[in-house]
Symmetry: C2
Subunit: 671 residues, 2 copies
């Protein structure tokens, strides 16, 4: 990073890249004060900000690597930044700031045809250009499209409809096609505004501790560097390589139903019963009983059943989240020990989770963390025999909660998913099971990568819709993958069934065949299992699913190389096409297809009623259609037949895994 | 107005009322710059503002009646205000302003339980407290309630759904229960923000020329003073006192259908045919042909028919708006003469009005105004025999238009309805027909009162909905009435029928019976006449309507006193209850009932399925139920029977018109 002092201002460069251009009539920093209004209803936030003051810090006084910003040459500095680093990486570190500042805006120079990606896990738009993205962990919304009937209905139901930017996992980090990445180190509410041609504007409701910058000659290298900065997940456990994780939540009957999957020839690695804790019925559907211990009446003899299953090579997985139902057994234990967050009256804070209330385990208290790690995850889950779990939620920290360490919930809200991930990771580590016990999360923020071994894409609607259906899972994998999350997967068939929107067999088939080309396959019965079709309700459907699991399993040798690559270079399993073909301009628009490792291109069918599909194949290679073995020249659109079970997949001619891929054709192709 | 100089700041009073409190840590004025994004689609505006800078002018230097505002004692003044006036009325006049300022915010001191009213013609909320109201003339929206299915459908259709603040007629003027009124003299985009307990914030996208303040010991006096400031309409024409205006748009058949109304015993003052110019069919419904002259093929022999009708005591009314369809005869005439607004390429600007394009008559050009006044309104309308017309639209001025006098369309957009009203008023005046020819408008802004003799409430949905149905018309009358609009009326039965929402007979009945207690009764066939019931389609419905017109006519002697009162004191015909009962706290919440003059209280049934109704009667009087003659003590809720045709109406015991009111009971009461 170098500063070029010019008349009345300066330019800041990362290598050749102009990052900041500051002039008195065009300051790069604005500061001020705001007064937010924040309402939460079941994880959906309504956020309004009244900006009381926003002042350009027009005067910059430079002394070596320090820049002091003030409103005028006479006024005293309101912000002092230290510029650190070299041409490859650096930071703008805010070493002093006027305490009255609670709104901060920074303008980063932009080029008209620049593209930007990142923002954590984004479900609607992979390319962030031209839009504004608030970064605040929350429910992602149901429908997420103000023009859809489902969103309208969900919005009426407590503002639950969401919009394109809503995500469980935001992160104030972006990658630019100018071959740099930028990260804002803050947990405050922030927003990226990419609607201008000449600058990107960062907004934060606190002065960030620093703005980090990373440069690299190639985007691929940049992604590796972000993985180093944020990531380093353990490898996937070996047992997962046995097959799919079958999600059933049918009490003891889940074990009987698992047998149908096995009999149908499914490759299975685990049975996942999120209802291992028991259930409660609500109007949203059958919900779990949020008291994190095996429920003997709902799953009699569960410990023995888990052991018996393990002997057959199938693991058992459960469910946990960071809240405790007030009518459970752990709530009074945690409350008595002072492990729960309080309200301003000094009482235990209760969060409404939809027809039941919960306490919030206070992860700012080391004692509460230790209790949850040992008493809950350690004893009730790992010692009991669980090999993994969904570590759900993390997005609901209310902003009017009182935390034990006195920290501001406005700053802890975004940090909460990371604290939650840490608790899970430490609990696993405490039992020496890192890389063996597998938990997966939907919530995230900067740093979750270091602790959470596997993301799942959250709660899609059970449909093919553009902003909440199957296709959004690809966008989630690609965006999260750029900032250090190597492993991503989703609920096969989607999750949210509301307002009469139910799964079709076609959706189940298309979702399963896509999942065969991701690192982890896992089914979910959804929020309303009885109203939605399940794989084991139809022999044809089950056969289709079984075949998909065997295709997945056939690719395990290839997956193992991706896991190794993730460990070495930090490249995610699912990658945008431009990551390896950055000279091919066509690739930058694509968010409904991905490279699965370097050698497979997957373009899932994500619309209903399609029996053929057009995919773009990157230039400079020849691509072999997995099912027909036909070879296509890259650099153009190719239309292929896409019957059920044969999603559009191509492999790179010359791949070291050609034999493996051709073997899939020989074994599984239908004609 | 007096300034009290205090350490580092000042207080500004209007009499005893603290208006501004300025301290360095709590400045009353903020200024800055913004960059708006404005998109218009058929009169629906999407407005987004990027506030680049917002700076508190913390330092105030006082010199006599001048206050110079700057950011600090060292900085040079950015705004200079002159304080004018006395304890009863005054102004903050901005005599100097930094030319770089294009955003302005002023904080007016507020009290926690203060109520505020005004904002022009507001359709959803009469009491503005607790909400923010952008003030920008536009379509009011269809449904106007984000939780209604109709709004959702309309929003999908080009963002046409609207919200609570959308109005054809905004005006930056409010009245406070602190017994003052405040007016912001600007035509720029502005907003009133009443969401804070301790201050109201005025936003304007230009430094207003002045902020006017009016004080009075009673609210009634304040309303009179605003009428003096803004209003002074001519009295209603005498011919209107003959009965209802019957709206039909059925070509020559309208005349035949009028006979059915007359035969049924309707009191009729005019036949109103908005389709006198001919028609065109669009997907929204049957639209008019926007070429402002009689259409001989659609209305053969119209001039003679008008004359024959006039001989029978029935006038004929038409329709006009400030746009010219490109496929009409007036468009080329206006274009050739240079009377149409241009685009930046120097071509005639064309506005999409829904499947047809129009030119915009450029009212910043005196020549264009004169042409429209003489050639269109004078020759084609008044000379042809029209006694009045709907002067529609005025809200659609695009902000990227090029106007002949070089003025900024961002400043002219809100001014346009007033220019449009002036053109109509001058055209009428030029023929010496002021107070004789009656035009009515929905669009408005500060000053429209001086030119437009009658408002109509715009295009309600044909239903009983809270934010776009019958009840909104009352809110419109009350709010507009406070700022100098003495005369208000509405389309009986509503106008907008979309998405399968059609009129019911009940709606027609309830709307007609309410209209009998307003200064003007007028029917409208709506946007889709064939799909919606009309009065003359059912003998029972027509009989009901005829009876309502006779009740209206029976009240004409009383109406004439209201017209006289409006001329003398400026009080509107329809008044909020608190205007005469300001010591009764209960009256301040009421926006679904009104005083019709001083002596009648009207509480229309505005929900479907109701056969009785509860109304609040102000304290300190006794009220006689119009239909039963029963007397009720004021100061409480009273439930009365409200069968069709007998809307809840009460008269003040001791009224000078007691005999007239009792005569209505004797003639029209059904039991």
């Amino acid at each position: 990073m170098h500063i070029v002092d010019v008349d009345d201002g300066f330019d800041l460069y990362l290598g050749e890249r102009l990052i900041l251009r500051h002039r008195p009539d065009r300051p790069c920093i604005y500061v001020g004060r705001g007064e937010p209004r924040i309402a939460m209803y079941r994880g959906n936030f309504e956020i309004e900000d009244h900006v009381e003051e926003r002042v350009g810090l027009r005067h910059a006084a430079i002394a070596g690597r320090l820049i002091a910003f003030s409103t005028s040459p006479e006024a005293k500095p309101r912000l002092v930044a230290a510029i650190e680093g070299d041409a490859d990486a650096g930071a703008i570190v805010f070493v002093e700031a006027d305490a009255a500042i609670d709104r901060f805006w920074l303008r980063i120079e932009a080029e008209p045809f620049e593209r930007v990606y990142g923002g954590g896990e984004q479900m609607s738009y992979f390319d962030l250009s031209g839009r504004k993205f608030p970064l605040w962990t929350s429910e992602p919304g149901v429908g997420r499209d103000k023009k859809s009937e489902i969103t309208f209905q969900a919005d009426k139901m407590g503002g639950a409809g969401g919009d394109y930017w809503h995500t469980n996992y935001p992160q104030p980090t972006w990658l630019s096609t100018r071959r740099y990445a930028l990260h804002v180190e803050t947990t405050a509410y922030s927003a990226f505004d990419f609607r201008r041609r000449t600058f990107h504007e960062i907004e934060a409701w606190a002065v960030p501790s620093r703005i980090e910058l990373f440069g690299a000659p190639r985007l691929e290298t940049l992604v590796s560097r972000l993985f180093e900065r944020f990531g380093r997940q353990p490898p996937l456990p070996d047992w997962v390589m046995n097959g799919a994780i079958i999600g059933l939540k049918d009490g003891a009957n889940s074990f009987a139903r698992l047998e149908k999957y096995l009999e149908a020839g499914c490759a299975v690695s685990a049975l996942w019963c999120e209802d291992w804790v028991g259930i409660r019925d609500t109007s949203f559907g059958r919900r779990l009983f949020w008291d994190w211990r095996a429920n003997e009446s709902w799953y009699p003899g569960l410990a023995d059943a888990i052991a018996a299953l393990k002997d057959r090579g199938v693991r058992f997985m459960g469910y946990v989240n960071p809240y405790l139902a007030v009518d459970g057994t752990l709530f009074p234990e945690a409350e008595a020990a002072g492990h729960l967050a309080k309200n301003h009256a000094g009482e235990t804070y209760r969060v409404d989770f939809g027809e039941f209330d919960c306490g919030v385990v206070d992860f700012t208290s080391p004692g509460a963390c230790a209790w949850f790690e040992e008493r809950v995850i350690g004893q009730e889950m790992l010692d009991f025999g669980l090999s993994g779990w969904m570590a759900d939620f993390g997005e609901y920290l209310p902003v009017d909660v009182v935390l034990s360490d006195g920290s501001d919930p406005m700053l802890m809200h975004n940090a909460w998913p990371v604290l939650w991930a840490e608790v899970n990771a430490r609990a696993v580590e405490n039992r020496g099971m890192t890389g063996e016990a597998l938990f997966f999360m939907r919530a995230g923020f900067t740093g979750v990568q270091r602790h959470c071994p596997l993301l799942w894409a959250g709660d899609q609607s059970v449909d093919f819709s553009r902003h909440d259906g199957l296709v959004t899972v690809i966008c989630g994998a690609l965006s999260a993958g750029l900032v250090g999350n190597a492993y991503h997967h989703s609920d096969i068939g989607g999750y949210t069934s509301l307002f009469g929107n139910v799964r079709t067999a076609e959706l189940m088939i298309r979702w399963a065949e896509m999942a065969a080309f991701t690192p982890v396959m896992r089914t979910h019965e959804g929020n309303r299992p009885r109203e939605n079709i399940q794989f084991d309700e139809s022999p044809e459907l089950l056969a289709h699913f079984a075949r998909a699991t065997r295709i997945w399993k056939a690719l395990v040798p290839y997956l193992r190389t991706l896991v190794a690559e993730a460990g070495e270079t930090g490249l995610p399993c699912q990658r945008p096409l431009f990551l390896h073909y950055e000279d091919d301009a066509r690739t930058y628009d694509i968010q409904d297809a991905y490279l699965y490792g370097r050698d497979l291109l997957v373009a899932p069918v994500w619309r209903a009623g399609e029996r053929s599909w057009t995919a773009y194949l990157p230039a400079g290679e020849r691509w072999v259609h997995l099912w027909s073995g036909e070879t296509h020249e890259g650099g153009r659109d190719v239309e292929v037949s896409a019957p059920f079970g044969e999603p559009p997949v191509f492999w790179r001619e010359g791949s070291a895994h050609a034999e493996l891929f051709d073997g899939v054709r020989r074994e599984f192709a239908t004609h």
